[in-house]
Symmetry: C2
Subunit: 797 residues, 2 copies
């Protein structure tokens, strides 16, 4: 069981804890309590090994393709965390002896994993153990571990075997060639491993030290031996711990790779070995506490920049938001625009570290509104992979840029071709997403445009964004097919966001988004020359924009956009509404993901009105301006009833869209479920990593949903509506270089900015101008969508 209320005082709602040792939660906690800094991701496995553990350490962007039958993935680097601890010759393991006290927790505020154990060994001797661990936010390469041991009943001989274990695989797939292993100065262990295909060198170092109160009080080892095993190198450290005295054993490790930016241009392995060793030597002059303090101060700065405060009767809501924001930071390679965010961040092998539309639609807005430069960087990744997208378009006989459904380093398609078994035929199921799920090419252009609208980042638009938008729009022009019977363009044979339908024609989400992207291209065609004629001319020469123009316009004018039918329902695609309906309650309530596929084959599910996730509802979210409240409500209700929410991308969007038609309590129900996707009590929801998009979704649901923030073509609209459980909501957003603080409570909405300038703001449909501070009445009866019952001027300051 997870506990959400461990934190008190300054740590209230900052601590995610596990208060009893329960191996059913092992993999989940490894994921949700993972540490990282965007460069390095380290699963929070226990120091001592347990059956079923999944130890993972990933370095962003270090993709490798192990074999022709495999797709490229983030390789699982050598493990530095495992320790075999012998206390008076008894192996420390919580499956033996008695656990007298136990608590493990992730401190979100400081970025530290802590475990406190009082253990009675099988022989009846008690030991207190305190484990602490962090991945430095200030020093991307650094991992610190501290184990404090206090024998309670007798003096103890402590033996710890630990080092660098390169036997790790990705579920049996070995990505590394064996490399050199060394001990330097009888102190520093070094292991080198090189990826088999991408030839990326990893240099991993570690060292251990042991002392009483502080590092001045070093302990003398009884023995210190080193062992070379296959693909691994270990030290065996033996020392004496006196009864009731605490001994601190510290292990420091670091990781450098030849993909690191500083080695991208001029690289020499020997130099990197030297650098990394020097780095560790310098670190080892400080103590864990000192190094941790530096990392902690970076975390405190982050929280100052991005904090969202929720006053809720369910205090877990606040924790959930912080949990999401914690992960949004550690998943994002802020140090390097050549990489983007994997669907599991850097917390597990799931989705192989690949980048999906999740980044642009679920994660990017968080950065756009909080750290816009990082948002720009994430979009630059799509610019850097544009060639891969062009290649894919060509391969499929299309033009422009066709972004891969799953993207890694080059932008080529990385989606695996086969997935789970078809229980009827006994054959593996084809994965069609890489081949047919095309909406991502619209999603990325949409994200670029929205980034521009909210940041006014003209430089990005002209250098990178425009080319993406023009090329994506051009893809859609080539993708659309003229239907001469109906005199319209159609988009046939796609998969929409709802992956439980495949090979459908005119998926509403896809068609609308494609249309939107072409519309942006047309606007940009006019806008770009005004901003920078030279940039336009350059792109015209490269892409033949003037020649393309008529085609853009033609497809824009004639692309089929499915309209609501007589019942007000927008058909998800041409055939969806005529498909069979079944009772899906069983699958909605199942703890197991995609449990419907145990009863039905994928081919059968495809022919039912069963949704994995928001599809039309997603459309209502991304292009809300196009639909009136009644249509939104009708469609939400129709589709939600048919949605299993087997995707972590579903609940948060349903929550937000429910606020559009003012069903705030339905929105809150969805929010609660979204916030529990990773942090909830289901012991297996996150085995292979957290759900990165869901982390973004939690923030979106709070700020975009209840906070009611909407960037309407560059104008900030605010329509806040708090659920009954919330007394207040407070957050910052950055808009066009201004940082705006929004504070909502049951009385008023307070909007302030310390930055100079003015901003047009629409609140509940009324236009205001924000200079420094604006206080408006809160619309009390939010669920009914009624208008403000207090006049605005009462509050104007």
């Amino acid at each position: 069981m997870l506990s959400y209320s461990k934190g008190t005082g300054e740590y209230e709602n900052w601590i995610l804890a596990e208060e009893d040792f329960d191996l059913r939660y092992q993999n989940k906690c490894e994921s949700i309590m993972a540490l990282g800094n965007g460069y390095l991701g380290l699963r929070s496995s226990f120091e001592e090994p347990y059956v079923g553990q999944i130890r993972n350490m990933f370095v962003a962007g270090t993709y490798n393709k192990a074999d022709v039958n495999e797709v490229t993935e983030l390789p699982n680097a050598a493990d530095v965390v495992e320790m075999q601890i012998y206390l008076n010759s008894e192996l420390f393991s919580l499956t033996y002896g008695k656990i007298l006290e136990y608590s493990r927790y992730l401190n979100l505020k400081d970025g530290e994993l802590v475990r406190e154990v009082l253990w009675e060994s099988p022989k009846g001797l008690r030991y207190r153990l305190l484990f602490r661990r962090f991945v430095s936010l200030g020093d991307l390469h650094f991992i610190g571990i501290k184990v404090s041991i206090t024998p309670i009943d007798e003096d103890a001989i402590v033996k710890i075997k630990t080092g660098i274990n390169g036997k790790m695989t990705n579920s049996g797939v070995q990505h590394f060639k064996d490399g050199e292993k060394r001990v330097y100065e009888k102190e520093y262990l070094q292991l080198i491993q090189t990826t088999t295909e991408s030839n990326i060198d990893f240099v991993i170092n570690c060292c251990c030290s042991c002392y009483l109160e502080n590092k001045m009080n070093r302990i003398f080892y009884i023995r210190k031996d080193f062992f070379l095993e296959r693909r691994s190198i270990f030290g065996l450290y033996e020392f004496k711990a006196k009864k009731n005295l605490t001994i601190n054993f510290e292990k420091f490790a670091n990781v450098f790779t030849s993909r690191d930016k500083e080695y991208a241009e001029k690289y020499n392995l020997q130099e990197m070995r030297h650098d990394s060793l020097e780095h560790l030597k310098i670190c080892s002059l400080s103590s864990y506490d000192e190094l941790f303090e530096k990392s902690k101060s970076k975390w405190r700065q982050y929280w100052k920049d991005v904090e969202v405060r929720v006053e809720s009767k369910n205090s877990v809501d606040q924790l959930a938001l912080r949990f999401a924001q914690y992960h949004l930071l550690i998943m994002t390679p802020m140090h390097d625009e050549r990489f983007s965010v994997g669907a599991k961040g850097l917390t597990g092998e799931g989705y192989k570290g690949h980048v999906f539309w999740d980044t642009e639609l679920f994660i990017l807005p968080y950065f756009q509104y909080n750290m816009p430069n990082i948002a720009g960087q994430l979009l630059k990744y799509r610019y850097l992979t544009l060639e891969g997208a062009r290649k894919k378009a060509k391969q499929y006989g299309y033009e422009g840029a066709m972004y891969p459904w799953e993207s890694a380093y080059t932008g080529e398609e990385e989606t695996p071709e086969w997935a789970a078994i078809n229980i009827i035929t006994g054959e593996p199921t084809r994965v069609w997403s890489g081949i047919k799920e095309h909406h991502i090419t619209a999603d990325i252009a949409y994200a670029v445009w929205n980034y521009y609208l909210s940041t006014d980042d003209v430089d990005f638009l002209k250098k990178y964004g425009s080319e993406i938008i023009f090329e994506c729009a051009w893809f859609w022009c080539s993708r659309a097919k003229w239907n001469s019977n109906k005199s319209r363009y159609e988009i046939l044979d796609v998969i929409g966001p709802d992956e439980y339908t495949e090979h459908v024609d005119n998926n509403a989400y896809t068609n609308y988004m494609a249309h939107y992207v072409i519309s942006i291209a047309l606007r940009l065609y006019d806008l770009l020359p005004e901003i920078d004629r030279e940039a336009f001319e350059f792109l015209d020469r490269k892409l033949n924009l003037k020649k393309r123009y008529d085609t853009y316009l033609d497809v824009y004018n004639k692309l089929y956009l499915p309209k609501p039918n007589e019942n007000g329902i927008i058909p998800q695609d041409d055939t969806f509404l005529s498909k069979k309906q079944i009772d899906i309650d069983k699958y909605r309530n199942s703890e197991a993901k995609q449990s419907i596929l145990l009863d039905y084959s994928r081919d059968q599910v495809v022919n039912m009105q069963v949704l994995k996730q928001a599809d039309v509802v997603m459309l209502l979210y991304v292009l809300k301006n196009l639909f009136d409240k009644e249509v939104i409500e009708k469609n939400w209700k129709y589709y939600e009833a048919r949605t299993i929410h087997d995707s972590s991308l579903s609940m948060a969007i349903h929550s937000i869209v429910a606020t559009f038609f003012d069903d705030i309590q339905a929105a809150y129900e969805c929010f609660k479920q979204a916030s529990m996707i990773d942090m909830g009590q289901n012991p297996n929801s996150s085995d292979n990593g957290i759900h990165a998009a869901s982390m973004g979704g939690i923030w979106l649901a709070a700020v975009i949903g209840f906070g009611g923030v909407f960037n309407n073509e560059g104008i900030l609209e605010l329509n806040p509506a708090l659920p009954y459980e919330w007394e207040g909501l407070e957050f910052d957003i950055k808009l066009k270089l201004r940082k705006i603080h929004i504070s909502i409570d049951r009385d008023k909405i307070e909007i302030t900015s310390k930055d100079d300038g003015i901003t047009d703001i629409m609140v509940y449909g009324e236009k205001y101008i924000l200079e420094k501070r604006l206080v408006l009445p809160y619309r009390k009866e939010s669920q009914q969508g009624c208008s403000p019952d207090v006049k605005a001027e009462d509050y104007l300051s």
Copy 2:
């Protein structure tokens, strides 16, 4: 703790047991209780997983080289043993709940692994579980597992997740490309994997069934679902077990590979898939018990053929012999002469499945005297790899055939280049064996000749053996270096059997053996034309024998053979006797292997009078005729005092050589230690596999040592001498097509043969002729080496 006395009645001294659950013994028992049939080797891991487990399944001869930095090795195939068993939703694991009864044992007589457990779950519910497992001796591809579950306190819902897990690696090295996975007929699971470099396809199938008393009473599953995971495929079987009723869950699996002999010539993967599936379907018509019965009858036949009976006050002696003979069978690829025996058999990753001199000097004699056709086959392996040996000779600038120190499929050198770390420099230690340990090229020719002498297998000699001998002898001619100062040939810069010295000149063992091989070549030069002139001429054309003759003769006459010095000690090499001596007691008594290398670097050890294993003593064993009893005794005593016995090849040879100078009790002490190398209580002696040579050594110590069997150039000499603890010793040997039964007790020696013919036999130096039965007096005071005190004629029948 292991128990040696579990067997009673017909199983007395046939059962090797572990009577308490102790994970310190996990890896050891996986090795020593391993199952196999020479085609397939299966480590005896538990069904349920535990931390530290090493699951291994090997198929003989399927070597693969994973990467340029690695050497070729036997790849660890997909696991079919693991089962996750849930009893009323509680995961079965002996680290949880209470173990009320526990016994795990290997039944050597029947070739079955059994485990009986009475377990109380954490919730306090008791279950009786009986696990049985065998690898069929009759059907090389087949593995059977049977789990019988009896709920004691309540009815139980049983869930078992099991299938085929291709995530296995060799300590982190993945040897397989991912392949197809299928479920056929909602019953049969199939996984295909292909080695990365040698491109060997493995097809692995399994199926499960569940019934009450017998297969007619099938149980209906509550659910049966199949899951495809990365590199693995599983079934989840759920059924109800009534209180106090036993439910039998059977899992059958098989393995086929494209290296199998039947596919060697014409191979088609689809055909093999089909064959293997049909094979499993046919098996699944029978029950575990029926299939096991067939395998058991093969085991019974084996024991009838090879049994050695020891009447000892230490009944473990008898068990140890059976244990050795059990492993000698399962380690040997009797089905295919393209492979030989790995240094760990098929029981672990140690030594990577490579073939050493262990086979020819320690294992071959067992087969030579028991199953001579298998001995011939093992030598044929060396003939088939002769090209590799020629290649190596060439590579090093020598002529003839230079056999690899470690051999796999092609006969090329496969010794890894680097081993454990040098604690002084921090750098890995160079492994010199592959480069400098040349005596194997003498050992193989020696074995060929002895095989011929004991079998009269003229056909083998002329087709295969002669070429090996001539080429090995020729290697030694090119290897020997003329020392003009001393007017002699010398062999410089080698490693002898004692690997704690390196780069030595004129290692006694090496020089004497090289000399012996050249002497055989000279004899064969005369003999072969007599046997078959055409064969000789053919070889002459191929090898230029007539031209070589003078060189053979010259080196034979002038090769330096170190003689005993003034103290009667044969110098191990030119410098050994002048090296420093240290106290080695600490290392002799250490449970850890090669513990001296923790205190000294290899470079330091090389410069001490410290032996890893028999070297001069080995020479006394192989060429005993050359040395008189006094020299043998003096050298044994000198060298044994300086030997750590860090090699499993050491003790048995010391035991045998002690019988040469009639110190039978010293011999017995060595025998006891040899017999405990794998079977003893040291929990880590066999983690990476059993010691194949040691298994041969145990048999050699009994039959060659105490039994006193010596094949002196084709004449059987018998000098039996039993330790005080032994009342009788009885065994068969096959000699020149006759099977001879020898029974020794404290009164008499009885020699019988049922085969027609006569055999010359020397007993205690007196010559007899055996027709049918010969009874001679036993030399009672064996330790003093006195002559028979009863006249032979008293006993002649």
